[in-house]
Structures are given as C-alpha cells and as structure tokens.
C-alpha cells in the first residue's frame, strides 16, 4: 500500500464519518463543524487526484462560504432547544432504509459495470485548461449563469430593502 492509497483511505473515512455525524449529532453547531470536515476531506481527495483547481474551488466555495453561511443561519435563528428527535413512525424508517438500500445497490452496480476509458494519459483539469474551456466553448452558458447570479443579487437587495423600510 503506497502513501497515496493510505491518504485516500484516511480522507475517505473522514468524509464518510463526518457525513454520518452530520445526521447523527444532536446540536446544530456540531453538525456544521462535521459538515466542514466532510467538505474538507472531499477537497483533499481532489488534491490526491491531481485536480488541484477543483479542490481549491471546493474549499473556497463549500468550506469558506457555504459553511459560514450555515453558521450565520444558525446564529440568527432560535435553535438551542430544538432537537431532531427520533421519528416515531416505523413505516417511514423502513421505507427510508429500503429506498437507500436500492439507491446503494444501483450505484454500486453502475460503478462496478461502468466502462471507464482507460487511456494512458490522465486528464488533468488545470486552471488554464478550465479557463480556456469556460471562456471559449461554454462562453454563452457562462454569461447566462452570470446573468442569473446578477439578477439573484439584485433581487436579494430589493427584498432586503423592503424589509428594512
């Protein structure tokens, strides 16, 4: 087992365990921290794969922005005594388990039988290549999403102003 494999297993374990902790922990603050760790472990796996740009974007957007957003949401709302207690309805639990089991089986089947192209050159998504693709091939889609984001920003400002008045 080489070092890369070792670190992959470590990070994968961290990602999965913290993902489980997001659901299992009692207090929302602990869940948010678990979420940050899960995102971080996924970013580390991107780094191991050599996709550094995607890894950094993962850290910037998910750990740096989304988690902070969640923490703010947690601080601004009443949460202290609200717990997500066990659901009394048995049928829902059973249905949930069956659904998740099926999903897992389907995904395992798809992953195992997937026909991955096995060319010698691995594709390395460096920042330069992604930039060229984004501003060349996908320019219209890029501008379209930029328009969407701008309109969302303006909408947020309008709503916030109305509430402030």
């Amino acid at each position: 087992m080489n070092a890369q494999m070792f670190f992959f297993i470590v990070f994968a374990l961290i990602a999965i365990i913290s993902a489980v902790l997001i659901m299992a922990l009692e207090r929302i603050a602990h869940r948010v921290v678990a979420m940050a760790f899960s995102f971080f472990a996924v970013a580390a796996i991107y780094f191991l794969l050599g996709a550094e740009f995607i890894g950094i974007v993962q850290i910037m957007v998910y750990v740096g922005a989304i988690t902070i957003l969640f923490v703010f949401g947690m601080m601004m709302t009443e949460h202290r005594n609200v717990g997500f207690g066990p659901d009394p309805r048995k049928t829902q639990q059973i249905l949930g388990f069956v659904g998740v089991g099926f999903l897992l089986a389907f995904m395992l089947y798809a992953i195992v039988t997937a026909d991955l192209p096995n060319s010698g050159e691995p594709y390395v998504g460096s920042a330069e290549i992604i930039g060229l693709e984004l501003y060349g091939h996908y320019f219209i889609a890029f501008i379209g999403s930029a328009f969407l984001l701008t309109s969302a920003l303006i909408g947020a400002v309008v709503i916030a102003r109305k509430e402030a008045d």
Partner: protein, 320 residues
C-alpha cells in the same frame, strides 16, 4: 520517501514559525514602544529578548478554564480550526529558488482559499463561548473579513493578469525577467493589498473584533491559558503568511543584490512589510464600524477593480 521529507519540512517550518512568531511579537512591542517614546519590554533577557518566551510560559502554566455554559467541544476545537489553515498556507510558499514547499500551479488560489477557513475558527470560538461580547466580536470579525477578502483577492488579480500564471515561482521569475518589482507598476494594487491585509488580520487600526473599549477582548474573551495562546499564534502565523505573500507578489521574493543570500532578502522584505503594520498600529486610532464597511465596499473594491481594468488595458496595449 517523499512523505517523510514532507513531514520533516512541515516540522521544521513549524518550529521556525514558532520562533518567528515569538520574535515578531517582541519586534511589534519594541517598535510601538520606541514610537511612543518608551523603552518597551526590557526586563527579561538582554534588550527584552526573552519577554515573549516568559509570556508564553505564563500562558502555558495557567489553569485551563472552560466556561460552564460554553459548547465544550466546539470551544476546544475553535483555536485549532483558526490555527490549522494559517499554518497550511506555508505549504506552498517559496522562500528561495531552491527552498520551497509544494510547487503548486495555483499557489495564489490555494493561499487565498485556505486562509478563508480561519474565519470558521473565529466564528466558532465566539459563538461557542456563550458570551455576548464574544458573539458580537466574532460577528464583527466575520463581516470585516468577508468584506475585505474581496479587495484582497482583487488587488492580486492585476499581477496575475500581467504574469499570466497563478504559480508563485512564475510570479517571482517574471519580476526577475522585467527587472522591476511589482510594487512600482502595481502600486495601486499594493496600497489596496496593504490596507485590506490589515483588516483581514483584524489588526489595528481595524481591530474592531477585539476593540477593548467596547467588547472586552472580542471573540476570545472567554479564552485563557494555552487556548488563548493558540489564537494569538494563529493571528501572528497568518500575519507572517500574508507578509510573505506580499514579499513574493510585490517585492520580488528572494531577488536582491548578490551580497546577501536570497533567504535573507526574503526575510528582510517580510520584516519591512510587517514594520509598516506596526507603524500604523502605533500612530492611528481605531476606525469606526460603519466607516470600516463604507471604506471597504465604496473605496477599496472600486480601486481594486480600477487597477484590474488599467492593468488589462496596458497588457493588451503592450501586445500581451
């Protein structure tokens, strides 16, 4: 084998950093002391050299207090969350031509991305203390860090446009090839970087998150002993990282006349940049919250954008 080398490198950098932080604090106190016409710390060791070591020893020997009403797990985790990203930044910093960590192609992005996690530590520390001063301090700190991160990143963009690479070594190499440090062609960017780095680090005159006169001591009010030392360590580690980045971006990294080795030039430039912060701290009063936000959003961000536009026009005009 590589893994062992990495661990050894990280260990050495860690130890050097601890020493560096120790003397950065002493340097700060001495500089401010002389500027205010007093000798500064001078009791421990010759010229007060052992003052910080004495302080740290005191902090380590203090009782470890965790407030009863605090969220204990998060309270314990927060200083680590604040320190780890500040230290992780050093993984990609090149100190000289031969002495550097990972030669990452997106070095700048890595630094800017990882350092933003420090916010999480500050926020968690303030929130979990269950103290209104801590909470107010951390909310202020986050608002300030989020808004000043934008001009910080935008001011760096001008250099990236000029060099055409996100690699830190390429940036220093480009400065070597054009024979001029970026502080001259990118002076506006340097001013924006300098001011927003102060705000990003919560240093005076923008130290509103720890404003003693209003908030006792901000987000780490409830912290004492070695957890408090950890927060201080995180702050100064991040400060050293930011000034090392400034050295690479604006002062040509290890470049300099050949009579001194590159690493000495690097450290000298870093110290000069940090001296600028101390100078401001000794001479300027604390800014007000609304002034701070207005200044960030209405002055620094437009200036940084203007710098990008001008740089791009010049780059195209020069036939880049």
């Amino acid at each position: 084998m590589d893994v062992i080398l990495m661990v050894v490198y990280a260990g050495i950098v860690m130890n050097l950093l601890l020493g560096g932080v120790t003397f950065a604090i002493l340097f700060e106190r001495k500089v401010i002391g002389y500027m205010q016409l007093r000798p500064g710390p001078n009791r421990h060791g010759p010229w007060g050299l052992l003052q910080t070591i004495a302080d740290v020893t005191k902090l380590l020997m203090k009782e470890d207090i965790i407030p009863n009403e605090a969220d204990k797990k998060i309270f314990v985790l927060a200083p680590v969350l604040a320190f780890a990203p500040a230290f992780a930044v050093f993984a990609v910093l090149p100190f000289t031509e031969n002495l550097s960590g990972a030669d990452l192609n997106i070095g700048i992005l890595y630094i800017l991305g990882v350092s933003s996690i420090t916010m999480l530590g500050v926020l968690m520390g303030g929130w979990s203390s269950n103290n209104k001063y801590s909470l107010l301090g951390s909310i202020r700190g986050i608002a300030q860090m989020v808004s000043y991160e934008i001009p910080l990143v935008l001011s760096v963009l001008g250099i990236i446009v000029l060099v055409g690479s996100l690699n830190l070594r390429d940036i220093v190499g480009y400065q070597e090839s054009i024979g001029i440090w970026f502080i001259i062609p990118q002076f506006l960017a340097f001013i924006v970087y300098f001011i927003s780095s102060i705000a990003e680090l919560n240093r005076s005159p923008f130290d509103l998150p720890e404003a003693e006169s209003e908030l006792v001591s901000g987000y780490h009010t409830e912290y004492s002993g070695f957890r408090f030392a950890f927060f201080m360590l995180a702050e100064y580690t991040y400060a050293i990282a930011i000034s090392a980045l400034a050295t690479i971006l604006f002062f040509g990294g290890w470049l300099g006349p050949a009579f001194l080795p590159g690493i000495i030039w690097f450290l000298l430039k870093m110290a000069a940049f940090m001296f600028g912060w101390y100078w401001l701290r000794a001479t300027l009063p604390r800014a007000r919250v609304d002034h701070l936000m207005n200044f960030g959003w209405k002055v620094l961000i437009p200036l940084a954008l203007l710098n990008i536009v001008i740089t791009s026009i010049i780059k195209v005009w020069m036939g880049g």
